[in-house]
Structures are given as C-alpha cells and as structure tokens.
C-alpha cells in the first residue's frame, strides 16, 4: 500500500476582540486534540519602550498608562517609582497611601473585568453583563479621583496629581460594600456554578516546577502553591503598613487560578478599607526641584500588578529623557510561554478557558 503523509489541520484562534483580545494563535489539531499552538503576537505592539526615549519623564508618566489597558495604575506606579529611586525622592505618607489605594482599586477593576470576559468566552453572557456593570463602579471612582475613567494619568513623579476628596472616600466605601456583596453573588452565579466548575477543573494544569521554569508570576503562579507576591516580598508604597494574606492554592489548574483571583478581590477590598481608615493628613506630593529634570543613574523597580510581577528598568544618562526603559510585562510570559505549553494536548474547546484562566492582556504583552 502506498504510504501517505498525515496532514494535520491548522485552525486560527483570534484575533477577534474581545474573545482572544488582539492576539492570534495557530492551533495544529488532530481531530479534537491540540497538538501544538503557535502564538503570533504584535497586534498591539506600539513600541512604548522606544517612544519613551523621545519624551521627558513627566510625559512618560502619561504615556505609560497605555501599556496595560486593564490595570493602568500599575504602570504609572512602576514608572514613577523607578524615576523616584534614581532621583532619591521621598514621597509623603498621604501620597503613598493614595497611590496604594489606587493600585488596589486597579487590581479589583482588572479582576472584575476578567470575570466578565472569562464568563463570556465560556458562553455565559449574563455573568459578563453583570461584571461589566460592576466594573463601572470602579471606573466611576477613577473619574471622581482623577477625572479619567480608563486612563487616569494620576500618579506622577513625586506623588499624585491631586488630592482625593471626601466624596471619593464616601463613594469608595459604598462601592466596596456593594462589591463585597456581589462577591457572594459571583460565587453562586459563576464560581460554584456546575457548568463553570466542569469547564475549569483539571483543565490547563501545571505543577509548581513547570510554572517556575516557564516564568509564571502572579495568581497563575500562586495557584500552583508558590507564595510569591512582590507586595509582601519586596514591599513598596504603603503595603508594609497594611495586613493582608497572600492567596495560594495547590491544584494549579484553571479553576484554582480563577479562585485565586476571586479571593484576591476580597483581599484588595480589605486593603483599601484599612488604608482609607488610616489615611494620614498632610501633603500628597513633593515639589520637584531642578535635579529631577536631568537624572543620571539606573534603577530597577518591581511591583505586583493584577497579572503578576511587573518590573521597570530605567537607565537615565543625564538628559531629560530616559536612555532606555524596559517594562517586564507579566502577560508576555503568560501568553507566549505558559499558554502554548498548557494548550498542547488539550482539546479545542478548552483553549479559550485556558487562555482566559491565565488572564493575559494583549496590550500588556505587546507593549
């Protein structure tokens, strides 16, 4: 009998928004089984790191927002801190508290958005609409404090752009109370829903060793039992002054990653409440002297964004613009190393569940 080469079918995943985001992958399949996944990023590559070399530091604080659409405060915080480290600036206590509040609200915002998109790709549209409505509560807080909803441009070198008002404090308390109530609703509606559990449990499983080797961070790593959280391990801003738990799980599958994020929302609510309760008086920003215009030095600052470890490496050679900025984006590894690894051997139907259980943001990946 004549021998024939077996041809496998190649099917595309993405780049439709919002199911896969601005990300495209090619799946090589044998029937239902995925034999391999080839990622094709670049749809949102704007080259921020290079663009920042043409702009002065205060301009970059605004530009860097766009590097992570769903969690912009983490980018602002990272860049501002990296520059402050070179300049040797001390931020006033109130400024640090406000920054931490915004960073945690950003985490809640990102995680709630993620609940919405994950529900949607699992064919669960009602949860998507409800999550999108709840997300609005945080966007409203952004607007009160900063004037911007999605791109706040709020954190700047030396502190924050303006003080928070009593209205913001009251509205935040109300929103947090509401969201805490919504969490038990999400438990009932999404996380304990039988269909959801069946779609997520034992899907996309990785061991702690595999996760470390692939460079996983954030909730994806913590779902494998490793308690790496930059907020605890290399504390910054006001995190040493608040009490919170690092959420870990042992299973390492898509369901564990989902529950990690769900519990992190509760932790973040508790952190914001503590900070609001102990909010110190005083100045929220330091005056920048001429020494902050031209900086010389190099700094490396890491923080825990909603998706994991985000680091800023800034080299400044004494001119008003940075010489080189490197953003270590957590989604870069979530999508480009973990996702192909987990997709191999799974089925086509599990691909969206695995992809969104990793909570990757294409804007963050491409930069």
């Amino acid at each position: 009998m004549e021998e024939r080469e077996i041809a496998f079918l190649t099917i595309p995943f993405g780049p439709q928004h919002p199911a896969s985001g601005h990300f495209h992958a090619l799946l090589k399949v044998d029937g239902e089984t995925v034999l391999g996944l080839e990622p094709h990023p670049g749809y949102l590559h704007r080259g921020f790191e290079k663009l920042m070399e043409y702009r002065v530091h205060p301009q970059n604080c605004v530009l860097v927002d766009r590097a992570d659409v769903l969690d912009p405060f983490s980018c602002e915080l990272g860049y501002a801190n990296a520059i402050e480290k070179i300049a040797g600036l001390e931020i006033p206590q109130r400024g640090r508290y406000i920054r931490t509040i915004m960073a945690e609200l950003g985490r809640i915002l990102s995680h709630i958005t993620w609940i919405g998109v994950l529900s949607m790709v699992l064919g669960f549209d009602s949860a998507n609409k409800i999550a999108w409505g709840d997300r609005e509560k945080i966007l409203r807080l952004n607007e009160i404090a900063t004037g911007g909803r999605l791109y706040p441009c709020y954190l700047c070198i030396g502190g924050v752009r303006r003080d928070i008002s009593q209205e913001f404090v009251d509205e935040t308390s109300k929103a947090l109370d509401y969201l805490e109530g919504q969490l038990s609703f999400y438990d009932y509606f999404v996380f304990k829903n039988e269909t959801f559990v069946m779609r997520m449990e034992k899907v996309g499983r990785m061991s702690a060793e595999e996760a470390i080797d692939l460079g996983a961070t954030g909730p994806n790593l913590r779902a494998c039992g490793i308690d790496y959280d930059v907020r605890k391990d290399e504390p910054y801003e006001a995190y040493p002054e608040v009490e919170f738990n690092v959420i870990t799980r042992e299973e390492g599958d898509a369901y564990a990653r989902s529950l990690c994020r769900r519990d992190e929302i509760a932790e973040s609510i508790s952190i914001v409440r503590q900070l609001l309760k102990n909010l110190p008086d005083g100045s929220y920003r330091v005056e920048l002297g001429p020494e902050c215009i031209t900086l010389e030095g190099e700094s490396y600052f890491c923080l825990e964004s909603a998706r994991g470890e985000k680091c800023f490496h800034v080299v400044s050679d004494g001119s008003p613009c940075p010489y080189r900025v490197k953003i270590r984006a957590p989604s870069f590894l979530h999508t480009l190393t973990e996702f192909p690894y987990l997709a191999k051997g799974s089925t086509i139907a599990d691909i969206p569940a695995i992809y969104w259980s990793l909570d990757s943001c294409p804007a963050d990946m491409d930069r």
Binding site: G47, I212, D213, Y228, K326
Partner: protein, 164 residues
C-alpha cells in the same frame, strides 16, 4: 545569605567578576562575557529558579550592548542581577534556554528589537514585527521619528497619509 552568595561566586570566578554591589535584598554582578553562562548556571544551582527578565541596553558610544539578566530566588526571596557587555559589532551570546525555559521568548524579543543573536535558542523568528527590513528598531541608531516621517507622511504634509 547575600554575603554567602557573594563569597561563593568570588571564590569560584575570581577573574570574571568585574563589579559586585549588594544592597538590601539585591545583589548585582557585572561579569565578563567569557564566563557569564557559567555564572548564571551557578546562580541557578544556588536557587535562583525564576528568570524575571532579559533586558538589552544599547550603549552606542561605547559600541557595546549590555545584557541584563534579572533573577529571583523563590526560596530565599532575594534578587540577583547579572550584567554582561557584548561587542556591538558581533552581538552573539550563548542562550540560557537550557537553564530557564521562559528565557526563550525574552531572547526572541531581544533578537528582534536589538539584533542580538542567542546561540542555542531554538526559535528566533520574528515576534512583533512583520516583514521588517530596516535595522532592529530599538537600537540607538534607528530614528523612530525619521522613519515615521518618511514612511507615513508626504513632504510638507501635516497629517499622515498612508502610502499603499
């Protein structure tokens, strides 16, 4: 712990460490190119199991690239930073994919944006850019503004016109 690592590396690689700075929970090594792989491999054995990032900086005045490897130890909760300078004319180094699988994509990105060759990396195909024919765009001698002007603006035009 930091001082243990410092003394262990100093005794093992006495001629290859150019500079060592340790501060708080961070230790920074500037190392010679010849031994950088052995040093990274030694650090992996010590317990730096997480490769956080591989950054490249183009020091065009000195005609050198600096590669910066950011490592983290999950057990000891400390960070190690290894810096190595390579000549700009022949930007070739050994890949560290054998030590950390996650390095593959970092190296692929640096290859695309800086044109650095990582020997032993299984896949250095284009990542973000499509059909790129210019010099690697993150190098200092690539002028983004000039490129955009020439490619997307016609002469004396204020607004961009996309040429076919």
């Amino acid at each position: 712990m930091i001082s243990d690592i410092e003394s262990r590396l100093k005794s093992k690689f006495p001629d290859s460490l150019l500079n060592v700075v340790s501060k708080d929970k961070r230790i920074t090594f500037s190392v010679k190119k010849e031994k950088f792989y052995s040093i990274l491999s030694e650090l992996k054995d010590i317990g730096f199991d997480h490769l956080s990032d591989v950054t490249a900086v183009d020091y065009i005045d000195e005609q050198e690239f600096e590669l910066i490897y950011h490592l983290w130890s999950h057990r000891e909760k400390i960070r190690a930073i290894v810096k190595v300078r390579i000549p700009r004319e022949v930007p070739t180094v050994k890949s560290v994919v054998g030590l950390w699988t996650g390095a593959q994509m970092h190296e692929r990105e640096d290859h695309e944006l800086f044109g650095i060759n990582f020997e032993g990396n299984p896949n250095l195909a284009e990542l973000f850019l499509e059909d790129w024919e210019e010099i690697p765009p993150f190098r200092k001698d690539f002028d983004t503004r000039k490129y955009v002007k020439e490619k997307y603006y016609q002469e004396d035009e204020q607004y961009p016109i996309v040429k076919g």
